[in-house]
């Protein structure tokens, strides 16, 4: 084997050693499939997403409306008390402009950057929200505090997943009346 052995006793390998097959290798892809139990709260949350609604959970002790919903209040250390629908609008709490994909591969020059954001959902307690994507907005125009609305998949395409919401888009100046009116609960 024609490999440098360093003073510490290890054998450094360069990318080229692999590319030129200077070193023998075995490749493997373990099967790491899993099934995660949704539980009562997330089970209902996903079922409601399929119906085009966002549901939260209320604690009568601290009066928080918690999103995503949970059956136990981590502050009061007691079970939560009731379900409550919240809006599908909100404000951007924080966001990121990503020019790489989840696996760190670079997005092409014609692919727009991904804009993951934490959206504080209207109707839930301040600071409560979900992580989702922003869309229909220029990356340069995204701001913290920006008002956004969910863009849903067509009802027949929904599967009971967080991706039943395609992304959140800015509520334009033309639409504030509709946003202010909200939806009847």
């Amino acid at each position: 084997m024609d490999l440098d052995t360093c003073e510490l006793g290890g054998t450094p390998l360069k990318s080229s050693d692999f590319e030129k097959c200077k070193v023998l290798t075995t490749e493997w892809k373990p099967n790491l499939g899993y099934a995660w139990d949704n539980g009562v709260a997330i089970g209902r949350y996903l079922a409601e997403l399929k119906e085009g609604r966002i549901i939260a959970r209320v604690c009568h002790e601290c009066h928080r409306i918690m999103l995503p919903p949970r059956m136990f209040c981590e502050l009061c250390f007691r079970p939560t008390d009731e379900w409550a629908y919240v809006e599908d609008t909100g404000v951007v709490n924080t966001f990121s402009i990503a020019r790489v994909n989840w696996d760190a591969s670079r997005r092409g020059p014609k692919e727009p950057p991904l804009m993951p954001a934490v959206i504080e959902i209207d109707g839930a307690t301040k600071g409560m929200g979900i992580m989702h994507m922003l869309g229909e907005v220029d990356p340069d125009d995204v701001t913290i505090g920006m008002k956004v609305r969910a863009v849903w998949k067509k009802p027949e395409d929904r599967t009971g997943a967080i991706t039943d919401i395609l992304y959140f888009k800015p509520i334009r100046a033309a639409a504030p009346k509709k946003a202010a009116a909200g939806r009847k609960r």
């Binding site: 084997m1 023998l24 899993y34 139990d37 009562v40 059956m71």
Partner: protein, 159 residues
Amino acid sequence: MATTEKMSKNTSPTHWEGEIPVNYIYTYGLAGEAFFRAVKDKGTFLGARCDACDITFVPPKIYCDRCFEELKKFIDVGTVGYVDTFTVSFKNMDGSDKTRPRILAMIKIEGTDGGIIHYLEGIGIEEVALGLPVQAIFKPKNQRKGGIEDILGFEPLKR
């Protein structure tokens, strides 16, 4: 309600499926590299000899795990051995049935203190016995890539 809230329908509980995409490239290390080079290029096995302890390690290693001396002498130990222990596998790794049962055996390599775990071929389950002499069978040389799959298995020794 709440945490005491019981699901009344057994179709209500749902789950979310996913997978963690992980893959890796394993390098065999200095001794493993030498071992699989010998398999690939010469169709034979290497062992590492510790003269002080009178131990021949198969597969080879770069240190004696008894006296911690560095082992520099890799020797050709041949491809003949005997069944030390075995088991029969009817299932694939994903739990599905194998098209035929496979016999997996620990083969002690003759004249050494080590061995190789691999398939037994060319023999029925009822015929396998501890101590059965066997020899390695390899893929044709042009198909070998330098790995454990270059060895097809072990078959009863033809005398």
